[in-house]
Amino acid sequence: MDVTPSAAGPVVRLIEEFHKLPGVGPKSAQRLTYYLLRAPQEEARALAEAILEVKEKITFCSTCQNVTDRDPCLICANPARDPSLICVVEEPLDILALERTRSYDGLYHVLNGVISPMDGVGPEHLKVEELLARLKGGAVQEVILATNPNLEGEATAMYLSRLLRPLGVRVTRLARGLPSGADLEYADDLTLTRALEGRQEMD
């Protein structure tokens, strides 16, 4: 990377490290570095420790494959959650979004990716075996496929659905329709078709 050649070695090094982060361009990397240079010692130490702690303490939950600092994770270990319900998501971040709704009390399963044939990512690269293992006990009654409603997410959902249904478990898919606050005129045909199909009685 082309940074100010006159800057001191450690400064250049930190700029380069920041530059590796997603969404951080060369200018942002410089700004972050010079901010930390002027920040109090404790603040810099706290950041460095937080980064190390995340890498040292965080692992994947052996049950749901979510990121966690204990195994099983807080959600899997919570007796108040319904163990007959598993919601399958692509990434740990999707769990955060679903938890924000406060309207789901089942468990999760993180695939850690999505089937993407053009990128060479197949089912064997995802946590599919682990999902099948969880269904073996027979306690799970419903699997909700909550992959993204785009091409790869749909392909993954279709693949999993065909794989899971012979096991006698109910397989459902998140509904697809219009987002709240949207304009009908900008909706694409696929979304509108699904919204029409999924219409509901007013009460």
Binding site: P117, M118, G122, A155, M158, P166, D183, L190, T191
Partner: protein, 262 residues
């Protein structure tokens, strides 16, 4: 080619990759500007007005503004979204293969009217055709011709003599068919049955209507597929990744295949 600052075109979306917080870079195939990458801002947000119109494998009308680096999609309206492709994993896997093949064979910015029409026809055929694999074989052979990699199927590429109505050899490295005596000596040449040669000639010279009338048994279909795949990989000098997914679906076989024997 000089393009105006803001221009409209129809396009087929070949590929997407994430960009920044909520954006994507979409790879479009257009009739006049060939293959091009464009930035679609905010399409990963649920309320995006563009997102649904720029899904992979959508035939869409777009308005683009020239950017410093990549052009930016300012408006998009889906024209055909090929819904049956998205509802059937077998058809979908083949459509993705078609898109990847066009992507790999197309240098950025080269004009591509014929390739565009071929891809559009292929996607339409894949939504309805009884035999999706024949659609792909036709695409492969036609695309090879358009890209300048047409295999020589009329006579032996080595000794130039006309081919007899016997089993011959096919060699990607030699660029086509070898007669029995030349083929035996050439490394990397695989046996080619007479029926496979006839099918490949038809795929090269015939219209899709003619090709789709041919009834191929599983063994013959498999032979033609193998020869074309090896040839395509040889010309691209790399794997076609989506082929692995098609193979996997076949192998797992828990799905009704789309007419393997037509």
């Amino acid at each position: 080619m000089t393009t105006p600052r803001i221009y409209k075109t129809e396009a087929i979306v070949l590929r997407q990759r994430k960009l920044g917080e909520a954006g994507k870079i979409v790879t479009l195939y257009t009739p006049n500007y060939g293959k091009l990458d464009a930035v679609a801002k905010g399409v990963r947000r649920p309320k995006s007005r563009l997102g649904g119109h720029l899904e992979v494998l959508t035939h869409t009308a777009v308005m683009l503004a020239q950017g410093r680096n990549l052009d930016v999609v300012t408006q998009a309206q889906a024209m055909e979204s090929f819904a049956p492709l998205r509802a059937d994993l077998h058809r979908l896997s083949r459509a993705l293969y078609a898109a990847e093949l066009v992507d790999r064979f197309s240098p950025e910015g080269a004009e591509g009217y014929h390739v565009f029409q071929l891809l559009l026809a292929t996607l339409r055929r894949l939504t309805t055709a009884k035999n999706a694999d024949t659609v792909l074989r036709h695409l492969e052979m036609q695309l090879l011709s358009l890209a300048g990699f047409q295999p020589q199927l009329a006579r032996c590429v080595s000794c130039q003599r006309a081919l007899a109505a016997t089993p011959n050899y096919f060699s990607p490295a030699a660029g086509g068919v070898l007669c029995p005596s030349c083929g035996q000596e050439a490394g990397g040449a695989r046996p080619l049955s007479l029926n496979a040669l006839k099918v490949m000639r038809l795929l090269q010279g015939g219209s899709f209507a003619e090709v789709s009338r041919v009834r191929m048994g599983p063994a013959l279909a498999q032979e033609v597929e193998m020869h074309l795949r090896v040839y395509v990989i040889h010309m691209l000098e790399r794997d076609v990744r989506s082929a692995a997914f098609i193979d996997r679906l076949r192998r797992e076989g828990f799905w009704e295949p789309v007419g393997v024997s037509g």
